[in-house]
């Protein structure tokens, strides 16, 4: 009798979440969101809050990166430039035309999406490596343009950008960014769980088989790339009005590599792996001051180690632990 009740409870639980799971809302997801949403209320240290915002920002970029790298197997090596184009579009709108930063969100996202669409259309017919290197070239060209147009962008002198809010407290910024991250995750997860996501995986795993089954690789790749770039642009807009000053260095390859490292350390093809890695890696580096000096070296070392030793990354470890626990519970 007790067992049936137990079963019933489980089946209700399952029924509820079977509706939500396709858009990525699982019990674990809700738990994490709740933790993230509540945590800042108990933290009064501005420095820690700042770290949380930065981790969230990098983690969200890693989600966008993994959406391309982990699914269609295209490394967007110009990621930082798409973040930068979002940032500069919004910043210039606000500074030169006096628009509100909230309009910047829409326009910046669109600009990055458009650029991503064009880049994708021109390069994603080519094989993965070509596409990665071409995206890199696009990023470098954009950076050079931004630096050259000193009249408009002030180049390396830096463009000072109005902040979102009057306050410089960190907590409100966290609550601006958190919904963006959640929205990003839910939308991208919904796409990867749909039939489009199946096509992505097919392309990523075996291109020829995908083509034979009637999947047009270029179409799906461009769609994927555009979406990912749009997210990057949106995060760029946030970055611009969060940091308050822009130089062409936002587009530097080093930033792409940081996001890339986080994403691979987190675990490719999981979306959330990079976010987890960001929350673990960034604060750790900040707290161990001596590590700060060699932070970027460690990013490189981490990337090398993950590539050679454990390609599944943190997510792989977690999933393995989760499976072990589940097996234990089932048996008990």
């Amino acid at each position: 009798m007790q067992e049936t009740e137990h079963d019933q409870a489980i089946s209700t639980w399952n029924r509820v979440f079977s509706r939500l799971r396709p858009i990525g809302i699982s019990p674990q997801f809700l738990l994490v969101v709740a933790m993230l949403a509540i945590a800042p209320l108990f933290i009064n240290d501005e420095y820690i809050l700042h770290l949380m915002v930065v981790s969230l920002l990098y983690g969200s970029q890693a989600i966008a990166f993994d959406f391309t790298a982990g699914f269609i197997n295209v490394v967007n090596f110009g990621l930082a430039a798409f973040v930068g184009i979002g940032a500069y579009t919004s910043a210039l709108l606000v500074v030169r035309l006096g628009a509100s930063p909230w309009i910047g969100f829409a326009v910046g996202t669109l600009a990055a999406a458009l650029l991503g669409f064009i880049t994708g259309l021109l390069t994603l017919r080519l094989r993965g490596l070509y596409a990665a290197v071409m995206a890199w070239f696009v990023g470098l060209a954009l950076m050079a343009l931004t630096a050259a147009f000193t009249d408009l962008t002030r180049g390396y002198l830096g463009l000072s950008v109005p902040l979102f809010l009057k306050t410089i407290e960190m907590r409100p910024y966290f609550y601006i960014l958190l919904p963006i991250t959640i929205l990003t995750y839910v939308v991208l997860r919904a796409v990867t769980n749909s039939h489009i996501g199946l096509a992505f995986k097919a392309i990523g795993q075996n291109l020829r088989a995908a083509r034979v089954s009637g999947v047009d690789p270029t179409k799906y790749r461009v769609l994927n790339f555009t979406l990912s770039c749009a997210v990057c642009g949106m995060l760029g807009v946030f970055y611009a009005h969060f940091v308050g000053i822009l130089t062409p260095d936002v587009m530097a390859t080093a930033h792409t590599v940081e996001v890339l490292a986080l994403s691979y350390v987190g675990g490719r093809g999981t979306l959330w792996g990079g976010l987890l890695a960001a929350f673990l890696v960034i604060p750790t580096f900040e707290y161990l001051k001596p590590l700060m000096e060699i932070r970027l070296i460690l990013y490189g070392v981490l990337l090398i180690l993950v590539m050679i030793l454990y390609p599944a990354g943190l997510a792989g470890i977690l999933q393995r632990v989760g499976e072990l626990l589940k097996r234990r519970l089932w048996r008990g």
Partner: protein, 299 residues
Amino acid sequence: MELAAFWDLILTGLLRGGFYALMALGLALVLGVMNVSHFAHGEFYMVGAYAAYFAHTAFGLNPLLAILMAGLIGFAIGALVEKVVICSLRKRTKEDWVMNTFLLTVGISFVFINSAKLIWGARFRGVAHYWEGTIYLSEGLRISIDRGAGFLIAIAAIALTWFFLNRTQLGRAIRAVAQDEIGAMLVGINLDRMNTLTFALSSLLAGIAGGSLLSINAAYPYMGLRPSNRSWYVVMLVGLGNVGGAIMGGFIVGIVETLSYYFLGAGWQDVASLLILVLILLFKPSGIFGTEVKGVLER
């Protein structure tokens, strides 16, 4: 535009091209033989520049020896990196090798750049000149001896490499690996050793490039980025892994870039060269001299 000014541009382009050819040759070797998409190529250029700087200033070696030293240190570090990092990946990776090597070398590049920054700081370390004076070519056309010497060294290094690849037993073995790995193995070529040798050789070329240009480009942690992306540009233009094409392509890119820089200015020049590449790849994805090299083209 005056004729002298035009020839001046062409000359600048040629000098630049010699350097690009040297860098691209090393990259093309690694791509063609090992099928490694080597992102850290520019970092060996940086290593060479630092090696030449310390050999020249701290140990007072004469310029030629300093440049040789840069090459040798590049060779040693290249061999070490191949043995420790790339070889380990080869032992473990089953699929997606090309992309994995790309990410792996991105990591290597990051480690190199930031280690240099940690050890030597973010300041320029250069020499005013190796050899003083200029060479007078004609009215309004003169180059510094350093530039001329750098160019000659690049040409000599390219010629020696060419000789090595075509006329020696070891060089032929390397080319055999590039053509057919299994076939090479069957005739008794030690693949591991050839891979290490190729990577070290490529690093040697990059090291020489960095060393010989020290008086023009001072040693600096981030200095490798530009040579790296230019040599990638060249190899993509001529077809990945095409060694002969990379040399030609280096000169073409050097001249075209110098001209477009003169007419368009910084910023747009990057855009123009990007557009050229996009157009070429759209119509001829295997590059202008496109030869099919294993595993590099869309399958």
